[in-house]
Each structure stands twice: as structure tokens, then as C-alpha cells.
Symmetry: C2
Subunit: 415 residues, 2 copies
């Protein structure tokens, strides 16, 4: 008798909870790139893949990869998966759920006798905690892994290449980790890690794009004065200028649809209660799925900062630290995914992802789609991170339908 | 031949520069409570006082005191002086100038044969650097020295009473440091330490009051969220709330005559560029010479904080750390000082002092007046602290006239 989708959702969640026990820190979930608990996760997932008659190997960057090749099917495969590393003191679902759901989807595809080869990739590294660089796993799969990174050292002075070798892997074979030429697409299922779906009372959404991001710092410089002896008219208060600008940043975000603008960091000098601030350093994090809108917003905010500074006899300087373009998901796969939502009875919600994902890296190499499911409370990167069983079930229903459509409609499949 | 006032101004400045060389740190001016360079300052000032035929002693808190008792004059004395300690890496004039000018004034009084006894007090401690408590010298003179402070230790673990004993003084005799019952008033001459006189192109001003001061911290609490995945409408951004309030603080100061309001310190949590701030701690320093206006302003700013917090689903808490009432200067002496300005041809500018002074402490015990002179650039507590010779001359002219008026008009003087 086939398992119900609800049973499968429960199992995918239980598997995440089981994998959560494989951690560098007892009682907390911490699993950095190729640390010992990752070996345990590999062993567990390998057994699960082999039970599904998949051909399993670990590539040279430590991604665990299983291939289900149905008898008589052509060579064109769909890739499913997400990452199995975590931030320190993480939750149980960020990344891992995309892998445990992929295992359910392979079994569903087998039961439905879909003539669709499926590769599961459990990416070894997405968070960037151990070596300060994210997406190690997906970079190798996308064929853009910069091998000079192999010399990077972790906090204990262990080189990345030695970490790889310790797992019995050969860093010289990194190029072989690249996606098979016969890959027709990649689907990543991931928790939203934000509060949008919950606020809109929705279970799942199709990701339209990974937002582009500008990050930098603005420094307002005025003059530090004695707070008691300097009247308002003679002050050049850098914090007052920064405060006026922070209000303007928020106001622009409020009136620009989809714009996410954050001043998350501020430090002032000399930062003493009785001294008029002489300098204020404020961070800016600006995100939008449309690069043009983001560029216009940045221009507007910098002009506003200049206007504020001029009015207050301050100077202001902007130092850009990062500018990453938006990565749109593949229109065709995204359309299919939206159709799968509709076919399974869910509103066809589309939203950008405000955070980066392996899907962002693979999109440069292969048509890529992404499915979000609701994060209760919007909580992620925290032990309280959770999922609702009915939402995991919804994600399974939608992605199973997506696989059906791919298997049925893909003209490149030889069945 | 009598010295001109300009010569006296030049000498008072030269004496400050000489005393500046008596420092704990070569090349910098640092002279904390009763440290070795203070002994050198005492020796120098004692010689100057004795050359003026003054009777000199050091009281039990280390104030150097000289009395000029003109032959045939009554017992009622006027006290002149200021402090000889400094902040670390100080300027040469904060405090000390009030003492070197007092020496000139005694000589002027002698030459003019004023029948006015004059006591000069070089207060040993005003800044509060060594033991974390300001006004040690003037507290003892005002008879309000709390003797439990004798057990306080400095950064090297040296108790205050041992510091006092090391100078050959007896802390058991602190009560004897109190002002003589025959004191008719105190005049302190001090640099403004602010930019007001310079901005108004004035040389000297009569101090109306030492402003009252409220100091405290406001904590806005919201919720820390991922900056990328949390849209504006779902944020509870503590920094955005604090920024709106900082703008409101400035705006109230701008429209309230004489109100000095400063947010000099802000710290936020977690203070990361990609996290919506969950908490913001902002200091408030509020000063006015009218306690009622200060209280109303505080009430208004806390109500504004509450309104901002309510609108943004934040909470806000106020912790008051200090509330000191304003100390008005003596109306009669202040009037005499203003008359002295007028008589010597200066505009009768009156202004509050935004900083504390020994005059604030003595005012509780004896009629007190204070004369400010211009601080170039408003700079103080900094090696660049300066005075202009013509301003020092102006201060001398005004205070010499003040002494004349006191000597002539004081009905309690028996001549």
C-alpha cells in the first residue's frame, strides 16, 4: 500500500529531526562543512538512497549524490536537493528538508513509474561558516569552484583541501563534480525563512528570483562637541544626520513595492552621553528582485544623504562593500511549478527570495526553480525554526505534480 | 609703575602655560587630584601668594588657600579662584586661568588700596578623574564633603585618604576646610568651554545659572529579523524607532529657547548589517537653566517615544540616571557683575553655563557669581584649548571693577 502524502510529510520531518542529532555540539545543531557529523549524515542518506535503488557517490567537494535511473528512460535527468550544513546553533529544517523531501519524491516517482531520471544532491556547504565562503557545494556542481579556495584555512588552521582529503575525497577531481550535461533542470524546496507566507496565510510559494543586493556603509562626519556647552545652532551632530537618513531609508522602502532596505548596524564616535556625536557609521542593506529598481533606490538614498549632510554642515561618504545582481529563476520551470500549485489547489503565490540559496548558484548553469514553504513565526537560523506538517505535505503535493508534468511533457525525455 | 591690564593678561596666560608643564605625562597636560605635579603647582602658587603678602595654607582636601587681609579692613572677605586639576590630555586654561587671574586681582586690589580682604582658593579637584567623583575641593569648602568617600580607591588601588596623607595633610581635619563665616561671596572666572561667545562676537559674559541636567537612557525593543526575508510591513525595527525619536529630540531643542538636548550614545542589538535591529539603547542628556522647562521637555520627549513605539509595535523604557536641579547664581552679585561689564564698556551678555563648576557647589553655601570669557573655537578639554589675550584682559577689567564695587559698596565692610 502506498504511503499517503501526509505520512511522507511526517517522515520527511522525522528524518530532519533525526539528522539534527548529528551535530558538532550535543544539544545544539551545528554542522559545518565536512565535520564528523556530516560523515554520519552521509552514511544515513546513502542508506536511504540505496534502499531506493539509487546509484550513490560523494563528489570531490563532499556533496552526496544519488541517481535514480528508471529502466528504459532516456538520459535527461532532473536534479533535486538542498544543503546539509548548518549555521551554528541552527534549526532542523534549513536545507535538510529539501533533501529529505527529495527522497520522498524519488519514491513517489518510482511508484508512479515516471520515466524521469532523478539525481538528488545533498550539498555539502551552503552557509559559509567554516571557511567564510558560502555555496562551496553548489559552486563545484555549477562548475565555478575557484580552486585557490582550497588553500583557505578554518579557525583551527585546517586547510580546505585537507578537510576534503580527510573524507577520503580527492580535491584534484573537483571538475568532475560539475553537473552532467544531460541535466534538464534543478528544483530546490526550502523553508521561506521569513514571515511573508504566514502573514498571508499561505502554505507554499513559487520563487520568482533571488533578490539582488547592495551592501555598504555610509559615514556622516560632523564635529564632536561638549553636549552641555554647545547650543543646537552651533552643532554639527553626525548622529542627528544619520537618524534623519535612517527615517528616509525606511520611508523609501515603505513606498517602493518589493524593496527591502535595512540599516542594521550603527556605530558613532565618541559614543558618550555628554558629547555631541562627531561621526556616525551606518550600514545599508538594499535588496530587490529588479536590479534597476535597486539601483534607482540606492541613487535616491545617497542623494538624500548628501542633501541631509549639506543642510547640516556634515560630510558624508559611501563605501560599497557588495553589489550582487538579482538571479531570476528559469521562466519555464517556474511556470510549470506555478501550474503545479494550481493543479493541486493552492493559490499561485509568487515571491522573491530575500536570502541566497544553492539554487542561485545553479541557475547560472541549468534551468532552476525553487519552491518555498511557510516558516512559522518567520523563524530560521535558530533552534526554534519549525515547519507545519500540512505545509510539508503541500510542498510534496506540488513538487510531485511538478515531477509528473516534467516527466509527461518534457520532449527531450526518451521513454 | 603699575602694570597695564594687558601686561597682567599676558602674565596670567604665561603662568597658565608654565603650570601646564607640571604634568603627569611629559608633552601632555594631565594633573589628577594631588598627584606629584600638583605639589609643584602648590609650590609655585604659594611663592606667588607669599610675594603678595598673603597668608597661605593647604586645607585637608588639598586646596591651596591664600588670604590677603588689608591693614585696617574688616573681617568680611571675598573669595576668588577655580581648580588646578585637569582631565587627561587637557588644555592649559580650564580652571587654572581662574587662579592666575585671582593673583592679578589681589595685586590690583593692593595697588588700588581696596579695603577688601580677598581669599584665593586653588581647588584641588573639580574634574572627578582620579576618584570618579567631581568637586572634591569645593565640596570640602562648602562643608558638604561626604567623608565615606575617603575610602574610595583610584585605578591603582590607592585610597583617597592615603593620597591626602601623602601630601602631609590630615583628612580628620576636613571640616576645617569649610568657608570662613565672614565670607561675603565667591567669584569664579572661567573659560566658556563652548562656542556661544565666539559665535556672538563677544569677549565676556555673566553666568546666570549652572543648568539643571537630566541624564538617562531609553531602550526601544522590537524584534530582530533577517534583513533579506522580512518585508517592511512585518518588521519591528528598534533602530528605525530610535532614529525617529532622535529627530524629535533635536526638533524640540530647536524650538525651545535655551534647551540643550543630546543623544550622544547609541548601541543596537545585534548590530549586524543583515539583521533588522531588535533593540536600540539611546542616551538622553537634557539641560536647561529653568527646571520647569527641563521637566516639561523630558515629559514631552518620553511621550513622543511612547507614541513612536506604539505606532511601530515596539516597547520603550526610560531609565533615569541623573537629575540635578539648576543652580542659579546669586542675583545681587550677578547684578554687580553685569554692572561691572557695563562700566568697563562691554555688552552685558548673560548666559547659563552648560557645564558644572566649583561655583555650582559653593553657591549652596555663599553668594556666588561667575564670569565667562570666550573660548576660541569652543574648544576645551583638549590640547588645542586656547584664550585670546584681549579676552583675558577684558575679564580682568570687568572683575577688577567688580572688586572695586564690592569694596566700595559693601555695607558689611568695616574700613
Amino acid at each position: 500500500m502506498n504511503k499517503t502524502m501526509r505520512d511522507r510529510a511526517a517522515r520527511a520531518i522525522a528524518e530532519c529531526r533525526l539528522i539534527a542529532t548529528m551535530s558538532e555540539e550535543p544539544g545544539h545543531i551545528t554542522r559545518r562543512f565536512l565535520t564528523p557529523p556530516v560523515h554520519a549524515v552521509h552514511a544515513h542518506l546513502r542508506a536511504r538512497m540505496e534502499a531506493l535503488c539509487m546509484t550513490v557517490h560523494t563528489d570531490a567537494v563532499g556533496n552526496l549524490r544519488g541517481l535514480w535511473q528508471p529502466e528504459g528512460a532516456g538520459p535527461k535527468r532532473l536534479v533535486l536537493g538542498s544543503h546539509i550544513d548548518t549555521v551554528p546553533d541552527a534549526g532542523a529544517f534549513d536545507g535538510v528538508l529539501g533533501v529529505t523531501l527529495a527522497l520522498e519524491l524519488v519514491e513517489i516517482a518510482q511508484q508512479q513509474q515516471l520515466a524521469l531520471p532523478i539525481e538528488i544532491i545533498a550539498f555539502s556547504e551552503e552557509e559559509g561558516v567554516r571557511y567564510g565562503v558560502p555555496f562551496l557545494g553548489s559552486r563545484a556542481v555549477a562548475g565555478i569552484f575557484d580552486e585557490t579556495m582550497l588553500a583557505y584555512e578554518d579557525a583551527d588552521g585546517v586547510r580546505m583541501e585537507d578537510t576534503i582529503r580527510a573524507l577520503g575525497l580527492n580535491p584534484a577531481k573537483l571538475a568532475e563534480a560539475a553537473l552532467d550535461a544531460n541535466t534538464l533542470g534543478f528544483l530546490e524546496i526550502h523553508i521561506e525563512q521569513g514571515p511573508v507566507l504566514e502573514a498571508e496565510n499561505l502554505q507554499v510559494a513559487v520563487v520568482s528570483a533571488i533578490v539582488g543586493q547592495t551592501r555598504g556603509a555610509l559615514v556622516f562626519t560632523g564635529h564632536a562637541n561638549h553636549a552641555g556647552t554647545t547650543p543646537f545652532a552651533l552643532r554639527r551632530d553626525a548622529l542627528a544626520g544619520a537618524a534623519e537618513w535612517i527615517v528616509a531609508v525606511e520611508s523609501l522602502a515603505q513606498k517602493t513595492d518589493g524593496l527591502v532596505a535595512t540599516v542594521g548596524k550603527i556605530t558613532i564616535e565618541p559614543n558618550a552621553a555628554n558629547v555631541v556625536p562627531g561621526a556616525a557609521h551606518a550600514s545599508l542593506d538594499l535588496r530587490h528582485e529588479n536590479d534597476g529598481i535597486r539601483a534607482t533606490a540606492l541613487k535616491e538614498l545617497l542623494a538624500e544623504a548628501q542633501a541631509i549632510a549639506a543642510r547640516r554642515s556634515l560630510t558624508v561618504e559611501w563605501a560599497e562593500q557588495m553589489s550582487e545582481p538579482a538571479v531570476p529563476m528559469d521562466p519555464h520551470l517556474t511556470h510549470l511549478l506555478a501550474e503545479a500549485l494550481e493543479a493541486t489547489g493552492f493559490p499561485t503565490k509568487t515571491m522573491p527570495s530575500g536570502a541566497g540559496h544553492d539554487a542561485m548558484v545553479l541557475a547560472a548553469r541549468v534551468p532552476t526553480a525553487m519552491l518555498f514553504l511557510r516558516s512559522p513565526g518567520g523563524v530560521s537560523h535558530h533552534p526554534d525554526e519549525a515547519v507545519r506538517e500540512e505545509d510539508v505535505e503541500a510542498a510534496l503535493q506540488v513538487s510531485a505534480k511538478f515531477l509528473e508534468q516534467i516527466a509527461a511533457g518534457c520532449p527531450t525525455l526518451a521513454t
